[in-house]
């Protein structure tokens, strides 16, 4: 029972992550705000890493490397927010 539930839950999380990817991609096409592109890329990466984890049975030594993708995902989100909060240049300096 427990062994059956884990892949199902992972599949559900991966699907939710994929739907979030598409939503953020749509927001990016509507607004051209790079924040949404970063979010879309981050959730796409999350989708892939969760599918990879659910479909393979990595050894204890290899498993942490699957989580490096997740670390990159969080890094993308942090980069997106920092980039969004950075003050914008007006483009008039030096004129």
């Amino acid at each position: 029972m427990k062994a059956d539930l884990y892949p199902m839950l992972m599949g559900a999380v991966a699907m939710a992550s994929f739907v979030a990817t598409l939503f953020f991609l749509r927001f990016w096409t509507q607004t051209r705000d790079p924040l949404f592109l970063f979010f879309s890329a981050a959730f796409a990466l999350d989708t892939l890493s969760r599918v990879a984890l659910a479909m393979s049975h990595p050894s204890d030594e290899l498993e942490p490397f699957y989580y490096v993708a997740r670390l990159v995902m969080f890094g993308l989100i942090i980069a997106a927010i920092i980039q969004k909060n950075r003050p914008r240049r007006t483009g008039r300096q030096g004129n």
Binding site: L9, F65, I78
Partner: protein, 86 residues
Amino acid sequence: MGPAIYLLCSAAAATCAYLLLQAYRRGGSRLLLWSGLCFVGLTINNLILVADKVIVPHIDLSLYRTSAALVAMTVLLYGLIWDAER
């Protein structure tokens, strides 16, 4: 190597949650709130991962951590579907 990666994942998820909720508190859109709440859930997911892999490796916590991730993503999807336009 493994414990460091798991701990970094938790710290990075918590940082994301903090930055998103702080941006919402400064007057950002409602989407920041839902994203922030999602990352609170993903932080819990990664903290259970640390417990599962490092603290109590003899106890299988995979269902608990994956359930936390599912709740987190469901919160985000709710926000994206019902509340993103406000």
